[in-house]
Symmetry: C2
Subunit: 240 residues, 2 copies
């Protein structure tokens, strides 16, 4: 059975302007792979209502699960929650359970609840909350969309919280080999390998070090024995 | 006049599996910002023909310029060139000018041209070549889509080569201020600032250090005098 599919939506002008280097994509990609969910697409969009809504709709329709990152804080440019609600045509308002979580957190810290902070208790109708063990303000799950914070420590904690609730397929087994040759030298043996193992994924990833090319060859599949066999075959093909 | 718009398409299973951490997006975002082109959207898709074709069509229709990264090498999983051609309904074949560039490079290096390497001379009909000063195999420009390599050193060299040919708008002026307070404390003054300077972009980017929140406030616009004025106003608002 194929693994469940997923997409990610990163929301934020700061990534697109080059000001901030996103790290949530790489984190989620690794966590989903271990969990047996295939991350198939990522989109990064700016803080514009139309951009967020159309990406949410497209990704929600196209994949089993969607994970968003960014735009759920208290400031004027945090517009993710209301636009996810709009994407699904549901209302959004301050919800008692979310407000209570925030109030308890601020009471503990001696911080005053104000209008801006109360915005973080706005939850779309029908959504379930995602716990935020770092700074209390919750994320939420609406339909198949998981709406999470952009601050990496919070994003990662939320991912750790939601993944155990999602059914995963077989974790992907992966073996790799580094070859100090150009891709052009090993393309023919790799094509031969792909023909012999059509059930596996064979990737060829060139890189450079000190001006010399080398290639990382990665073989992936759900059956570890089969992946090992392919690596043996590959070693033979490269010797020929 | 608004700046030209751009989108990026990153092609590669290795990014989506978490194996490789993409660095080309961050590089392109910074280079476009300096050049006065607004990067509005990024998509990362896997090495699947349908995914590449539909993303190329959507982004080419939606933005002035598109930049792709990855999938133009000699191996079986390098399928970008043929799918960009298909997205535009044009043929692709080995072209003499591209073949000559590769042949000269391999002659210099004492490397034999083979069938795999010759794949890198396949160029869609009507495309212009993008020079590759690192390893010769060219990228290309078809319609408004710039097809470039995924290896960061080559991608960056190609970006440096193509940007001077593109008209840029006014480079964005940006000033920032770090405030050791939570976003919930400064949301009201920021909203006030946004109302006073509707022509500028005001971003609020929370981060954590040693368990404490701080906020980077970034004000951006094409008129540096106006951006400076906004920063003065902001300092006043935060003192109140």
């Amino acid at each position: 059975m194929p693994n469940p599919t997923a997409a990610m939506l990163v929301i934020g002008d700061e990534i697109l302007s080059g000001r901030t280097r996103d790290s949530n994509m790489h984190h989620l990609a690794g966590a989903l792979t271990i969990h047996g969910i295939d991350l198939c697409e990522v989109r990064v969009v700016s803080d514009r209502p139309a951009a967020i809504q159309s990406a949410v709709r497209a990704l929600s329709d196209g994949y089993d699960h969607v994970f968003t990152s960014g735009g759920i804080g208290p400031t004027h440019d945090d517009i993710t929650a209301e636009n996810v609600a709009k994407a699904f045509g549901v209302a959004i308002s301050v919800r008692d359970d979310a407000r209570a979580i925030l109030q308890a957190h601020y009471d503990r810290k001696g911080i005053e609840m104000n209008e801006a902070r109360l915005r973080m208790a706005r939850i779309p109708d029908g959504a379930r909350l995602i716990e935020n063990p770092v700074s209390a303000a919750p994320g939420f799950i609406l339909e198949n969309v998981h709406v999470m914070a952009g601050v990496p420590a919070i994003f990662e904690a939320m991912v750790a919280g939601v993944l155990p609730e999602l059914a995963g397929g077989a974790p992907v087994q992966s073996r790799n080999m580094t070859v100090a040759r150009g891709e052009g030298d090993i393309a023919a043996p790799l094509s031969e390998l792909v023909q012999q193992y059509p059930d596996l994924s064979v990737g060829s990833y060139p890189a450079m070090k000190a001006g010399e090319f080398f290639v990382n060859i990665v073989v992936r599949g759900q059956d570890g024995v089969r992946v090992d066999a392919a690596m043996d075959t590959l070693r033979g093909l490269l010797k020929e």
